[in-house]
């Protein structure tokens, strides 16, 4: 654990990605294989199952520190992180331990079936033999929520430096359904067996938002334009007579969309399609709101299947006949995909995302402007000669989204952030006018600069009306422009609407309070775009 704690400190002590990569690479060279594997797992969002509740952890920590529970709870918002709060309040350790990261994880996992007394004794015993940073790391293993300032991309780069294996290969090897129990350093990293995991997806190719005039992209004929559909990006894998559906966040969502199972009977084994899962009826996509009830659940009741039938709107063909198609140009992949889909019966839940025809960029600009009317978020521009790359890359793929919807709203509640933002007010609730009342309708956390967050924090402290736990109500005064990607009805909210991806785009210091938008304005947007 000492070695891992040292790595954690090294990563924590620098903002420079070069230094972080070097520290991680050195760790991947020296650490025991089990520890390396667990480190990769932790940094890619896989953590051991929780065997101790945070309620228990809080109580035991307060007891060990000799402080009343209220005082522990008073410390928590100051620190902004439970694992760290516990690490800080505990008395110094009286012993040392040579247990490795994976050995400590084994200790924690063994608590799964233990009784409460054993759990308590084990945790208190662990705290008493770990230094402050080790304790923080240990507590994080229990609570989850790693923020080590290391993206999966950076981790993969470090792994590549340490092993000499190309980054793109590693990215692919690290995808899928593995855990440190099902994989080893050898089978996952060094000598992966391609047939070992038939469900393993390819890394998704992600686009950047177009930040220039499209004319700069060259001839429109070199590009494929298609709609940017507003669903869930998914990768459908048909291998070994089974099918798997992966989300972009590497969630296996096969069982949530049973409609797609029948495709196994129609498409050849060794087919992988990149596409968008859409709720779809009467030849057109339904709103994202209709798809939403199907996202949260593992299995789907029949009623929901009928109300929100889905299809896969196919964008790209990544594997065909067991062959990796990604190095081939898009034009070729796309032609093969079109042929394959054309040969299918028309009522299958798989469609080709149609190309948007254009003889010039102005045609595409006009098509983009109609996006909201047909339930799309904008256009995707893809270079016909380009291979399918891994991760977010600039150059060959661009998303050309419609401008967000915006509304001017009044700040009414503020709450401090967590972690890095624990001492700043960063989480805000906004309201619109309904007659003389302000009706809350959305929260937003991002979009301001650090300097602006500092300014608004000072203002919130001076203009607090009431405190409700961590939340402060403030004098209605400041107007912010809120941008969002979509709007839908929501019976759960007082305002009757819910926004998608709300964020602050501007602090409208120029705008008087009474000129903020109204609930009627919101309802009109709902009628038009909901």
């Amino acid at each position: 654990m000492k070695r891992f704690a040292t790595l954690f400190s090294a990563l924590d002590q620098t903002m420079r990605t070069g230094v972080k990569t070097a520290a991680l690479a050195a760790y991947f060279n020296d650490a025991p294989e089990d520890d390396r594997l667990w480190t990769i797992a932790l940094l890619s969002g896989r953590r051991p199952r929780r065997t101790v509740t945070t309620t228990r952890l809080r109580a035991w920590a307060a007891e060990a520190a000799g402080i009343p529970p209220w005082l522990f709870e008073a410390c928590y918002p100051v620190v902004g992180d439970l694992a760290e709060t516990i690490a800080l309040v505990l008395p110094p350790a009286t012993r040392e331990s040579d247990r490795t990261l994976s050995q400590w994880i084994a200790v924690l996992r063994a608590l799964d079936k233990a009784d409460d007394d054993t759990r308590k004794a084990t945790i208190l015993g662990a705290w008493d033999q770990l230094g402050t940073v080790e304790r923080l790391v240990f507590n994080k293993l229990i609570t989850g929520g790693w923020r080590m300032g290391v993206s999966q991309k950076l981790m993969t780069r470090a792994l590549s430096t340490a092993t000499g294996i190309a980054e793109a290969d590693l990215t692919h090897r690290l995808m899928g359904d593995w855990t440190p129990d099902t994989a080893s350093w050898a089978t996952l990293i060094e000598a992966p067996d391609p047939t070992a995991d038939l469900s393993r997806p390819y890394p998704f190719y992600l686009a950047y938002q177009l930040d220039q005039d499209p004319h700069a992209l060259g001839h429109v004929t070199d590009w494929l334009a298609e709609r940017k559909w507003d669903g869930i990006r998914g990768q459908l894998i048909l291998r070994g007579a089974n099918h798997y559906l992966w989300s972009r966040g590497e969630d296996l969502m096969t069982d949530r969309f049973p409609e797609l199972a029948q495709l196994v009977d129609f498409l050849p084994d060794g087919t992988v399609i990149d596409g968008e899962v859409l709720a779809f009826a009467d030849d057109r996509p339904l709103s994202f709101a209709r798809l939403q009830p199907r996202i949260g659940r593992k299995t789907v009741p029949r009623k929901l299947l009928a109300e929100a039938p889905v299809i896969l709107m196919a964008y790209d063909l990544l594997e065909w006949g067991g062959q990796d198609m990604r190095p081939r140009p898009l034009s070729e992949r796309r032609a093969q995909l079109a042929d394959a889909i054309a040969a299918l019966p028309p009522d299958l839940p798989l469609r080709l995302s149609p190309a948007v025809p254009a003889s010039g960029w102005s045609d595409l600009a006009a098509a983009r402007d109609q996006s909201r009317d047909i339930g799309a978020e904008g256009l995707m521009l893809k270079r016909l000669g380009a291979p399918y790359l891994a991760g977010r890359k600039k150059g060959d793929w661009w998303k050309w989204k419609v401008d967000p919807l915006t509304i001017d709203a009044v700040l009414i509640y503020a709450q401090a952030g967590a972690g890095r933002r624990a001492t700043l007010y960063t989480d805000f609730t906004f309201a619109v006018w309904n007659g003389d009342d302000l009706v809350p309708f959305t929260k937003a956390y991002s979009g301001l600069t650090d300097a602006e967050f500092g300014q608004i924090t000072a203002w919130v402290r001076k203009n607090t009306l009431e405190r409700f736990g961590p939340v402060r109500s403030v004098t209605p005064h400041h107007v912010f422009e809120i941008a969002f990607e979509g709007i839908q009805p929501s019976p759960r909210h007082k305002s009757g609407v819910a926004l998608r991806f709300p964020r602050m785009v501007r602090w409208r210091k120029d705008k008087p309070l009474h000129e903020a938008n109204t609930l009627d304005d919101l309802k009109q947007m709902l009628a038009q775009y909901g």
Partner: protein, 335 residues
């Protein structure tokens, strides 16, 4: 009440004087020279001899009398004496006795000996006025020797990388404390003007500090490789830093105990070193006074006074205008 809390500050009716007043008054007893405690505009000042030079340096030509540690003085019906607070050189707790009732206003204090300030000496009293800048159990200062080796290891590694180490510290107290912890075998020490000015004052009163090179406009940092630069925290990230080329930045403050603050400040390293008492220090200081009543000022006043109440003290909160330890301190405005 021996001392009262008024809009101008802590007031003693029996002696008609104030302690660390934040509005101009006729007679001010000053615990130490930090800007939130020693303010301009008072008609007469009383402070320890070792606090006096910095006060003169910062406040100019003031009517300042000095009183040695332990010396008693009668002011009206009050008997006053100053006792080491261990915060910065010359910092004092002020003991006020009126008709056998003893109060102590402790100003800012720390209980560990920093090797620079006169070490904290507990004073028995009936009523104790304590700060609570770090009055939560999450603040537990590491050992000073361990800190010294952390800072020196960082400096040595930075120098080995061909970079300049820039450490943000307060001009009065922290800077000199850190200076004494530095291993001068690693390289030269450069100082920002605000810090060098305070160094000069403290050297003038006989404090021994390692050699420092002031950063002046015509100084070429390249002719001082392997350097460590001491600068006020407010100078970090400003154009003033550009002259040093590639740097690694550090901050020395009690707030560095919290990862969130460390990361938000975007310094490469944070060193947990404070001139205020930590949780254990505050508790031991309060206990050592034998006081029954405690007033809690600047810091986590609500939580610390509730905690003291549960420990059996008659504890209350007093609103003051003291700043405690601040990362964006205006304390470095030396002129």
């Amino acid at each position: 009440m021996v001392l009262r809390f008024t809009p101008s500050g802590i007031y003693c009716p029996a002696g008609d004087f104030y302690i660390d007043p934040w509005r101009p008054v006729d007679r001010a007893l000053i615990t130490h020279g930090h800007a939130d405690h020693a303010r301009p505009g008072n008609a007469a000042y009383l402070a320890t001899p070792s606090a006096a030079p910095v006060m003169r340096h910062r406040l100019g030509d003031i009517a300042l009398e000095t009183i040695s540690f332990g010396e008693t003085r009668q002011i009206g019906d009050a008997t006053v004496s100053f006792h080491p607070a261990g915060h910065v050189p010359g910092s004092a707790q002020i003991r006020v006795a009126v008709k056998g009732e003893v109060w102590v206003a402790s100003g800012d204090y720390k209980t560990v000996d920093d090797g620079l300030s006169e070490p904290f000496a507990p004073v028995r009293c009936h009523t104790f006025i304590t700060e609570s800048t770090f009055g939560l159990p999450i603040y537990n200062w590491p050992d000073q020797t361990a800190l010294a080796s952390q800072i020196n290891a960082w400096w040595a590694a930075t120098a080995a990388n061909g970079q300049t180490a820039v450490l943000g510290v307060y001009a009065l107290g922290k800077a000199q404390r850190v200076l004494r912890l530095l291993d001068t075998a690693i390289g030269p020490i450069l100082t920002h003007g605000a810090i060098e000015a305070t160094n000069a004052v403290l050297r003038g009163q006989g404090l021994s500090l390692p050699a420092t090179i002031p950063v002046t406009p015509d100084l070429d940092p390249k002719s001082h490789p392997r350097a460590l630069v001491l600068a006020p925290p407010s100078a970090l990230g400003t154009p003033w830093m550009r002259r040093f080329g590639p740097v690694s930045t550090g901050l020395a403050s009690g707030w560095m105990a919290l990862r969130g603050i460390r990361r938000r400040r975007a310094a490469d390293r944070g060193f947990i070193i404070s001139d205020h008492a930590d949780w254990a220090g505050l508790n031991s200081a309060v206990a050592a006074t034998g006081a029954e009543r405690v007033f809690v000022t600047h810091g986590y006043t609500n939580h610390f006074s509730r905690w003291l109440t549960e420990q059996g003290y008659d504890a209350g909160i007093v609103e003051t205008a003291f700043g405690g330890e601040r990362l964006d301190a205006d304390e470095d405005m030396t002129k």
